[in-house]
Structures are given as C-alpha cells and as structure tokens.
C-alpha cells in the first residue's frame, strides 16, 4: 500500500475495499476478477442499496418514478468508457468535489454514518462491476 501511495496511485483507505488505481478520469481495471453481470447490475441500479434512480432516470428500466437531479443515464454506455464509468461510480467526488452524487465505493472521509452502514461502502466491488456491465448496454 505504501508503495502504491508513493507511486501516486489512489488507494482505498482500508480493508474491506479492493485497491484501485485512477488514471486520468478513469479506473481501467475491474475491482474484482469475476466479470460483471448486466442483469444483476440492472437490479442493483434500481434497488434499495444503490438507489441510482433517486436521482437519475434510466428509461430502459421501465421504472415508473425516477429522479431528475442528475443526468439521465440512457446512452451513457456510448458516452463513457468502462473505466470512466467505474471512477464515476466508485468516487465521483474525485472528479467534482462539490458533487451531489454519493461515492459508492468509499469509506473514509465520511462523518456521522448511521451504525448500520458504518465502515461499509454503499456497494461492494462485485455490485459495482455488475452496474457497470449494465450501463455498458445503454447505447
């Protein structure tokens, strides 16, 4: 971890998070070796853990109520590469410190987290890969 930090890599603070490396505005390497599954990803995206639809509309989900705080994600798979999607979900605040979008794979720098969620990222690494796999289908 020290080495990684010295080499200028971004490192996730502590276990249980996988290490990742930010290059430009992307994280190119998947967080886990098992490939993401788009079907599971769709369920995660519209489910209660992630709550992406609170803010984003994704017409393809067919869900009735969706938010409009954030850009709609239809077509996002054509706009952004897999690595770009990964960084935006892992930690959008790296790109925009002022963002309203929560960091889905981060446990440090948060305050007053409710006991049930303390020390845990919003999504685990596999769920994030699943969501990315789904977003890639939105072209």
């Amino acid at each position: 971890m020290m080495l990684a930090a010295m080499a200028g890599y971004a490192v996730a603070a502590a276990p249980p998070l996988e290490l990742y490396r930010i290059e430009g505005d992307a994280i190119h390497a998947p967080l886990v070796s098992t490939a993401g599954d788009p079907l599971r990803g769709r369920a995660v995206l519209s489910g209660r853990d992630a709550n992406c639809l609170l803010c984003h509309a994704v017409a393809e989900t067919g869900v009735r109520f969706m938010g409009d705080i954030a850009p709609p994600l239809s077509g996002v798979g054509a706009r952004l590469s897999e690595g770009q999607l990964r960084l935006r979900i892992v930690d959008q605040s790296r790109l925009n410190p002022d963002t309203v979008m929560p960091s889905y794979y981060r446990i440090n720098g948060l305050i007053r987290v409710a006991p049930a969620y303390r020390g845990k990222p919003v999504l685990n690494a596999q769920q994030i890969e699943d969501v990315i796999a789904y977003l890639k289908t939105l072209k």
Binding site: F65, M66, I69, V100, P102, L110, A114, V122
Partner: protein, 277 residues
C-alpha cells in the same frame, strides 16, 4: 465613486491586504469586508413554502379546514388546553387564558431563548417546560399525541402570520451551529441539507418533488405517515435518508437547526397544520 478599473483591482486584492499603509485604502478595505460579509451569507431569493411544491390535491386538502386531517390535532389540543394537569391542578388556560389571543404570534417567533435558564426552546420544549415548572406534571414524550396536539393548537394561533425569527446576541451561537449542520455533509450518502433543499428544490428525488425544506407548516399531517408529525420527525427522516446518525427529537442539534431554518423561512406564513405528501 470608485473608477471601474480601481474597483476591479480592489476585488482582486487578497483580503488580508495591509489596511494601515495608505489612508485612502481604508475605505476600500471596508468595502472588501462588506463584500466578504455578503459572501458569507448571500442574499437569498424570497423563500417558497413547501406547499407551493406540493400537488393540487395536497394544497386543496390543507386549505379546507374541514378536510384537513391536521385540524383533528388542533381540536384535541384545544381540549387539552383547558384540562387541569399535574400536582398544581392548573391547565394551560389557568395561566394563558384564551389561546387565540395569548398564543397569537408565538410560533412565528420560535425557537426562543428561555429568559430563565438561557436554553433555546422550540414550542414543544416550551410546553414541556410549562408542564414541569408550572403544572408540576411530567414532560410529554416527543411525538406523543398530546404533545403534537398542544403544539399544533398553539402554533395554529399564528396561522397566516409571517415567520420572523430574530437572530441576536443571545441566540447567535445556536444559529451558527444550525447553519453548520445545514451545510455539513453527513452519512453514507455524504449529503448536506443544502444539496437537496437549496440546489435541487423543484427537482424530483424519485417520486418526491424536493422543496426548500422550510419548517413553517409544522406540525404537519403527512399522508405518508397517516398522522400528524413534528418538524423533528421530518428532520430525522432526512438524516435517515442520507444514512446518517439521527439526533433525538428535541435534541439541541435539532432545535439549533430549527432556529436556522426559521431564519431561512423569514416572511413565509405559518401554515400549521400543514398537509404534506
């Protein structure tokens, strides 16, 4: 008048510029300070009540005193007002007489610093203090039917009057703490009040239209709750939404926040009992 280019330069100066150097600069520094003060608390547009973000059905329900379910709590409060309670054998009316006269305007000025022990009290806190000090009855639990009813009845007497929370020496520290809370990111979602209610008012969070987050209608009847509820119940729901630790209803943190919200809501009419989705 300051020539345009000098003014532009003045704005470019670091705020720590040495004011002592030249006499002429003193007034410029004054100007800078004034600019800074404004930057700290930028003027806000006229506040808009949560009611104007609500659907036509909700607005109609609130406007109709016979249909507004919150009026049930007001009616219960009116009964309780006159019932002797505690070892003193006194009712609220024993001291305050007719609420329409004695309570008029009170909710528009709360939360207030208690002259005695200098704590900041909201209406609920004041009611409980009266119970303990004057009626010699126990404090009512937050969110109990009785406390909701008495609060709704007392606040209802200020309906249509503008919120006029005054920030002064005595309550400034509470106001500042409330403001800090308003702008502090918290919880696993890492969001502050400002992110939803200041930046995204009018937008949709799933099916909800986000309002400016004012407290001028509380206690409200919330269709989702199938009940009346206090402002602190609503605030705790917002903390829950961002997955943050929830302060207790009636806690100092929430009363301070309530004061800050009241200052943001200045000029809005008290709506108690409001109706919300």
């Amino acid at each position: 008048m300051i020539p345009a280019n000098a003014a532009a330069n003045a704005l470019r100066w670091p705020s720590a510029v040495d004011c002592g150097v030249r006499k002429l600069l003193v007034s410029f520094c004054g100007l800078l300070l004034a600019v800074n003060a404004v930057a700290a608390e930028p003027p806000r547009p006229q506040p808009k009540s949560g009611l104007s973000y609500a659907g036509a059905d909700v607005r109609a329900l609130q406007a109709d005193d016979f249909g507004n379910p919150g009026m049930l709590w007001v009616a219960r409060g009116e009964k309780l007002w006159n019932i002797p309670t505690g070892r003193s054998g006194k009712s609220c009316a024993s001291c305050h007489r007719e609420a329409p006269a004695s309570m008029k305007g009170v909710a528009a000025r709360y939360p207030r610093i208690d002259a005695g022990d200098k704590t900041l009290l909201n209406i609920e806190g004041r009611i409980n203090q009266c119970r303990e000090r004057h009626q010699e009855a126990g404090a009512l639990a937050y969110e109990s039917e009785e406390l909701l009813a008495l609060t709704a009845y007392a606040a209802h007497q200020s309906r249509h009057l503008p919120v006029q929370a005054e920030i002064n020496e005595a309550n400034r520290a509470h106001f500042e703490r409330g403001r800090e809370t308003y702008y502090r990111r918290q919880g696993q979602m890492n969001l502050a009040c400002t992110h939803c209610h200041e930046r995204n008012a009018g937008r949709k969070l799933l099916a909800d239209t986000i309002s400016e987050g004012h407290g001028n209608a509380y206690p409200v009847y919330r269709l989702e709750w199938q009940s009346a509820g206090s402002l602190h119940r609503r605030l705790r729901a917002c903390y829950f939404g961002v997955r943050a630790e929830q302060p207790a209803a009636g806690s100092a943190e929430l009363v301070d926040l309530e004061l800050y919200l009241a200052s943001r809501a200045r000029g809005l009419p008290v709506e108690t009992p409001g109706v919300r989705r």
